[in-house]
Amino acid sequence: MEMIDALRADAAKVLADGRAKVVIGYQARGDHRAPLFVTTADRAASLVYDDACKQNLAVYLRKPEVKLLGKAAVVASPAAMRSLVLLMSESQLTGDDALVLAVGVGEYHGVLELAQVAPLLKEKYAALAPSPELLREIEKLAAKTPEERAAFWAKQFAKCTRCYACRAACPGCYCTRCIVEKNVPQWISTAAAGHGNYAWNVIRAFHLAGRCTGCGACEAACPQGIPLMLLNVLLGQEVEKEFETKAGYDPEAKPVIGSWNPEDEEDFIK
């Protein structure tokens, strides 16, 4: 059976036997892929899945209107499954909050309970890594002078309109009030220019340090094409190097920023 047929069949089945009230998947709209919320088994045939599905659907599990529909089964790629594990480790999801229609790389893993996600990731997708092009890009940028890097980012951040699509698209950005919305005082300037854009983009990346699962939804969401994954992946690499951990594999993991070890490296503290 083709992968997509198996996915559709499973979606129809979980809806028919009441294990889930809504299936969150993708639909095709021309070349675009949009989320599809399937609530009846007969509509499961409209689900699609291919490489154009860039959005991380785990983001919808926090949306109040989606929650009102009842328990969800969410179509998730390995990166999105890592997001689910991250949300579990941060007490945002618990055991039976959702089901997962697990789409792997080149294969389909069927309907999983949340508890089954981490073992699958560890077994099959422990070596998920950012693309070599992205890593090369980071290396290239890191080799430049601080002034050159500042100029590179100034050009990128100048495009930012502060629409916060990056934040909206990220399953990890679930604060009900974001730091940029804290306005007494206004910590980060909301003017879409200069210092405000620098502070926003830097702080957004930092708040995901050790939490970003590398799904790339933020960069795909950015209407201005700012290469946000350069920042996220850089921090992911640093966290892995310094603290030997990768976000989204262990539902019991403590947050990297927010926990500590007396043996942590401190050669930069003089």
Binding site: A34, P35, P64, A169, S189, A191, A192, A193
Partner: protein, 337 residues
């Protein structure tokens, strides 16, 4: 007939820049085309629909509208004058040009906005007849057309199968631009290419009517399920004009800023006491559709949507206002039967 070869458009931009215009044009930089200020060497691309709209040059994303300084114990407010350089927007899409008429109406409806008006007065818009469109374009559904000239001071028509362009001035401002172009434009003959065909997706009048009676419709929750609450649509929109006033103060100087804001964000209507009259994304998406297709029609007699499709092209969650309108149109037809 004023004619210019397609590969000589940068020459036209250079001539206008030489005549003192700030030239804004669709420029390709890497994978994307944006409306930006032209500089020598920039590649003008009239085929792709720019990421941003021409609005950015009349209503910038952040702007200082007030200033005061503290000198010793003296608090001194300073008068801020609009920055309004003489500008020509070359090859704006007809949907961007017609959006100017709505912005004119909004910024002069009650209070006359000197910042917008100064820039508007200094700006000449030369639109481009569309010979390309994509699946998100729906200008014909909202009273526009690929060859409409509403809001434009002049129009560029692609001709001879894309080999050249005809520039046709429509207003005094347009004539001034044509004159300033000088030798960059040649007198000649060319055959204008046919505009692209854009299918009609819904009946805008019917949508407006339906909206008047369906504030509480269950449809809102359904059509807004995917919406994630960001401003990607509003900031790409050629007509969205909401803003937030912010004071940024340091000890020495403080400025009052007018920053873009959007009804898509929860904070837009959050009250100090914690209440939010638009408590969920369904209410916020409804506001977006209502504002464009009902409130503005009622107040200014004009739709707040020109069918450029940017919101749908850029939405990270695949939301499309055209799709919502089509669903409304269908719901209305179903109700009539």
């Amino acid at each position: 007939m004023k004619v210019i070869e397609a590969n000589k458009l940068p020459g036209l931009a250079a001539a206008l820049a030489g005549a003192g215009y700030r030239v804004v044009a669709p420029i390709r930089d890497g994978g994307e085309v944006r409306m930006v200020v032209w500089s020598p060497g920039a590649a003008i691309d009239t085929r792709a629909i720019p990421v941003n709209s021409a609005k950015d040059f009349l209503f910038p994303k952040a702007e200082i509208i007030g200033r005061c300084t503290l000198d010793g114990n003296d608090f001194r407010p300073e008068d801020v004058k609009p920055v309004a350089p003489k500008t020509v927007i070359l090859a704006a899409r007809p949907c961007d040009a017609s959006a100017m008429l709505l912005l004119d109406a909004v910024f002069n409806w009650d209070y006359k906005d000197e910042f917008f008006n100064a820039r508007r007065a200094a700006t000449t818009i030369v639109s481009l007849v569309c010979t390309t469109a994509d699946e998100q374009c729906f200008c014909t559904s909202v009273g526009g057309a690929p060859d409409a000239t509403a809001g434009a001071d002049g129009v560029l028509r692609q001709a001879d199968g894309g080999r050249s362009f005809i520039l046709e001035p429509l207003t005094e401002k347009g004539k001034a631009v044509a004159a300033a172009a000088g030798a960059a434009l040649a007198e000649g003959q060319a055959k204008a290419d046919a505009p692209v065909e854009v299918p009609v997706h819904f009946d805008a009048k019917a949508v407006t009517e339906w909206l008047g009676e369906n504030f509480e419709s269950p449809l809102w929750r359904e059509v807004s399920l995917a919406c994630l609450s960001c401003g990607a649509c509003a900031y790409a929109c050629p007509t969205c004009h909401c803003f937030d006033l912010q004071d940024e103060a340091t000890r020495a100087e403080s400025v009052r800023l007018r920053n873009w804001d959007t009804c898509g964000l929860a904070l837009f209507t959050a009250h100090a006491g914690g209440h939010n009259p638009r408590p969920d994304q369904a209410a916020r998406w409804r506001q977006r559709v209502m504002h464009k297709f009902s409130y503005l029609v009622e107040r200014l007699g004009r739709l707040g949507c020109t069918g450029c499709g940017r919101c749908a092209r850029l939405c990270p969650a695949g939301m499309a206002i055209c799709e919502t309108c089509r669903e409304i149109d269908e719901a209305r037809k179903a109700a009539v039967k």
